[in-house]
């Protein structure tokens, strides 16, 4: 398992001979690739936030003059382009890229005691494909007709016929689709790498049930990515053929668009929805599972307690991963799908709420009886739990088709998924950033600025998304460019005003994060190897870790990942590579359960 142990001098020499480009740009080192994913996600999230602010602004001041927009006043198609691009960029290039691509890449090999990923060149390739996909996506803004207006779900026929269905549906939609296909391919390469690495590269003694929950999360996420993105890849190719080769996979006969009869025959718009959501629902878990892993990890660390019910936590992630593939139909309750299948999808969806609830109980169980230290990562992990409770519970309404008939496509749905997979996952990313920054860059982030960032963001997020539930229950429809259509929408404008103000304040608070991040990179306090008194293998090696992660001295693992406050131990944490006998533990504690 440890073939490369001792190979490190050669590794270092080989690396030193490479030029700047091979070391820092086309690097095969999983840590550099992780950082590349991180900065790509940072760029993407900045774009995504700016797009959402433009939307929020337009919803409240639709007639305002915006000098940087062509035409001066935002048109409905420009608004819908923002909707599409905000959703796509956030889901693919932030929520998929940061938790898995960035932190997974950087820390999975170190946490299992490996020198690198199983396929370092494949790893580099998957990053550069992702980067190309991002550039391709952004370029959709620049072509004639602008970015697509069909939303991140791109339902045909709207997305399948070219610009006859609307501006942005010409070249913009094609670039969008090509970008998604490249992204899918990159994700497949990445997931194969994660799965192989987890199975093959674990250090001696690192059994499955001694893996940190972060590793479990990345592992399950990689399996989901492999199965989900391959289906989107296939569906995306079919849609591209419908658009460019005149096929009719998703286009039925008799379409009359803009008084123009389309020569298509025999396709089904629902087929796309099935393929899309067969990917799209697992994608929700691809975004959130790593956040769950990080949250468990951080809660244990700063409660100074083992994760409550570790085995159940790992199994719950597997259960969520498995059930996640059986519930895509809950996105389609009102799609025209056979109503009988609604019965099954509803019960399966409620079933997946059980492992999710169990995770929440176990997080509370981890805090219970602890010694809670409120460092910044801990605050974000606690915020994650609160958002996951709120967003998860609102899902119990949507899981029931009888209630979905009134809530579907309203702001209620928007509130639900932004809380549970949007900002919860973002809080997972923030928690991970504050927690692992010392390991990644060898310096500490500023605690005071971090706390300020947390309080403003935590309050701001609730101020943005809680009122959206109420707009939705009252019938406010998402993806509307403004409230001048149906008369009843006017009464909901005060809530929209409140949300927009909260959104701008919350976005401004992110500047604190950016400032803290870049300032700490340059002049943060030097980090020790293990600043949080943590237990897992990444804390046994210097900050930042050397090229082969362990300086040639590869660890052996003697214990589970969360041995905090073990009775009889000299200190309140035991690193995973510490054998029992060095800690003069009482006989009754040596296999403490």
């Amino acid at each position: 398992m440890n073939a490369s142990a001792g190979a490190h001098p050669e590794l270092a020499r080989a690396h030193a001979q490479k030029g700047f480009v091979r070391r820092h740009i086309f690097s095969t080192d999983h840590k550099i690739i992780g950082l590349q994913y991180f900065f790509l996600a940072l760029a993407a999230v900045t774009v995504g936030i700016v797009l959402s602010l433009l939307m929020r602004f337009h919803l409240v001041w639709p007639a305002a003059h915006l000098p940087f927009i062509s035409g001066g006043i935002m048109t409905p198609e420009q608004y819908l382009a923002l909707v599409t691009m905000h959703g796509t960029i956030m889901v693919f290039f932030v929520l998929t890229t940061a938790p898995q691509g960035a932190f997974g890449n950087f820390f999975l090999p170190i946490q299992i005691g490996a020198p690198d990923m199983a396929f370092p060149r494949l790893n580099m390739l998957s990053f550069w494909f992702t980067c190309a996909a991002f550039l391709c996506m952004i370029s959709a803004f620049l072509v004639r007709g602008g970015a697509p207006i069909s939303g991140w779900t791109a339902y045909p026929p709207l997305s399948g016929l070219g610009d006859v269905t609307g501006p942005g549906e010409g070249m913009g939609q094609t670039l969008w689709l090509v970008s998604i296909l490249i992204f899918c391919f990159a994700s497949l390469l990445g997931s194969i790498n994660f799965i192989s690495t987890t199975i093959d590269m674990r250090a001696p003694g690192m059994t499955l049930m001694r893996m940190p929950l972060t590793v479990w999360a990345w592992f399950v996420t990689a399996i989901l990515s492999l199965l989900a993105f391959s289906v989107l890849l296939a569906g995306g190719i079919l849609l591209l053929l419908d658009r460019s080769a005149g096929t009719s996979f998703f286009l039925p006969a008799g379409l009359v668009v803009n008084s123009e009869l389309q020569v298509r025959n025999g396709g089904s718009p629902l087929l796309w929805q099935h393929l899309f959501w067969f990917f799209g629902h697992p994608e929700v878990y691809i975004a959130i599972l790593p956040g769950m892993g990080v949250t468990s990890h951080i809660l244990a660390n700063f409660s100074r307690k083992p994760v409550f019910g570790y085995r159940v936590m790992a199994l719950a992630m597997c259960a969520i991963g498995f059930l996640g593939f059986l519930i895509w139909g809950h996105h389609m309750f009102v799609s025209g799908m056979n109503p009988y299948s609604g019965l099954a999808f509803s019960m399966l969806t409620l079933a997946i709420a059980v492992p999710s609830a169990v995770k929440t109980f176990n997080w509370l169980g981890t805090l219970w009886g602890g010694k809670i230290q409120f460092h910044v990562p801990m605050l974000f992990a606690l915020g994650f739990v609160s958002f996951f409770i709120s967003g998860g519970l609102s899902g119990i309404f949507l899981a029931q088709p009888a209630l979905d008939t009134m809530l579907h496509a309203t702001y209620y749905v928007l509130a639900h998924f932004h809380l549970v997979m949007g900002v919860a996952a973002i809080f997972g990313i923030f928690g991970a950033t504050y927690y692992w920054f010392p390991k990644m860059f060898g310096r500490m982030m500023n605690e005071t600025l971090g706390k300020l960032h947390f309080w403003l963001t935590f309050v701001g997020v609730y101020c943005i998304f809680m009122p959206m539930h109420f707009i939705g229950i009252a019938g406010g429809i998402r993806r509307y460019a403004d409230s001048t259509g149906p008369a009843y929408l006017a009464s909901l404008q005060p809530l929209h005003f409140f949300i927009t103000v909260a959104a701008f304040i919350t976005a401004a608070a992110q500047l604190i994060f950016f400032y803290n991040f870049f300032r700490s990179l340059k002049s943060g306090e030097r980090a020790s190897a293990n600043p949080w008194n943590a237990t897992t293998l990444e804390w046994t090696t210097p900050s930042p870790p050397p090229l082969d992660n362990f300086d040639g001295r590869y660890p052996s693992v003697y214990r589970g990942p969360y041995d905090y406050s073990v009775p009889g131990a000299r200190q309140d944490f035991l690193l995973q590579n510490v054998p029992d006998e060095r800690y003069a533990m009482g006989e009754e504690h040596s296999n403490a359960k």
């Binding site: 009359v256 519970l393 209630l403 259509g485």
Partner: protein, 285 residues
């Protein structure tokens, strides 16, 4: 040896139990505020859905309330539980209580959650069956709903009770044939085409929902019902309105740049007014 020294060094690097009261109290208070504000909005009915106008919609509201009670209790307990843990177990220099879990506690909360959620699901599915699976009654009024960018067009079968044939290549809104009615089909001669939906009170209505171009939706808040309009499919939907009034029909499925302005009216009128409406429309066609 290296790791031992590192670990010992690390122990000294961060001092515990300093400044844990303020964040603990702040977070606990914020969570209490969150729970209180959310509960207030629901209890005071600040942003209610409009009153339902069918018996089935009333069932939806009951199911909503049932779910709200169950979920509301869980929300309050979980958020306040989090607030309690954060406050009670803040670092005050104590030693953490070592435990790896508690099997019976875990089994209990798993089973309680499972029973609650599946119970809600079964109750909800009974309502769904009433809405969507139960057949519409035999004496219902049929109206065809055709959606296109960005208008609703409604068609009544007329005196013969039969819809005339539609041909896609005859569709021509400019020449007054937005649906593509075949002029050679006698069944279509008396069809009534309108831009809003008028139905009599207390009579079952069956809509046949279709689309000409992209996917649209038919949603009336007071019916608590929405249905996508999918090209290539004719999807039935039925309801029996029991309150006279005018209700907005809106599109909830992103259908293009005019999506936000795609709406129409559902007019529920007395039987007398309905007959007058049909007569007047028949004359106008």
């Amino acid at each position: 040896m290296r790791t031992t020294q590192q670990a010992a060094r690390a122990t000294r690097s961060r001092s515990p139990n300093r400044g844990s009261a303020l964040p603990a109290v702040s977070l606990a208070l914020l969570l209490i505020l969150l729970v209180a504000a959310t509960a207030y909005v629901f209890i005071a009915h600040l942003f209610p859905a409009p009153p339902p106008i069918t018996a089935a919609a009333l069932l939806v509201d009951h199911q909503f309330d049932l779910t709200l009670y169950a979920v509301g209790i869980a929300f309050v307990l979980a958020q306040l539980g989090l607030a309690y843990m954060v406050f009670r177990y803040r670092d005050r220099g104590q030693r953490a209580h070592f435990t790896r879990g508690h099997t019976w506690m875990e089994v209990t909360w798993t089973l309680v959650t499972l029973a609650t959620f599946l119970g809600l699901g079964i109750a909800g599915n009974r309502v769904w069956a009433d809405l969507e699976i139960a057949p519409s009654s035999g004496d219902s009024i049929q109206v065809e709903v055709t959606e296109s960018q960005f208008v609703y067009t409604f068609r009544y079968p007329g005196a013969d009770g039969k819809f005339g044939r539609l041909e896609a290549d005859l569709v021509s809104p400019a020449t007054g044939n937005p649906l593509g009615l075949d002029p050679n089909d006698p069944a279509g001669k008396d069809d009534i085409v309108t831009s809003s939906l008028t139905v009599p009170v207390n009579r079952p209505v069956e809509l046949l929902i279709r689309s000409q171009d992209v996917i649209h939706n038919f949603f009336v808040r007071e019916l608590r019902l929405q249905q996508d309009a999918v090209p290539g499919m004719v999807i039935p939907m039925h309801f029996t309105p029991d309150r006279i009034g005018h209700y907005e029909i809106v599109c909830t499925q992103l259908c293009g740049l005019g999506h936000y302005h795609m709406h129409s009216m559902l007019n529920v009128v007395s039987t007398v007014d309905y007959l007058a409406f049909l007569k007047q429309q028949a004359a106008a066609q």
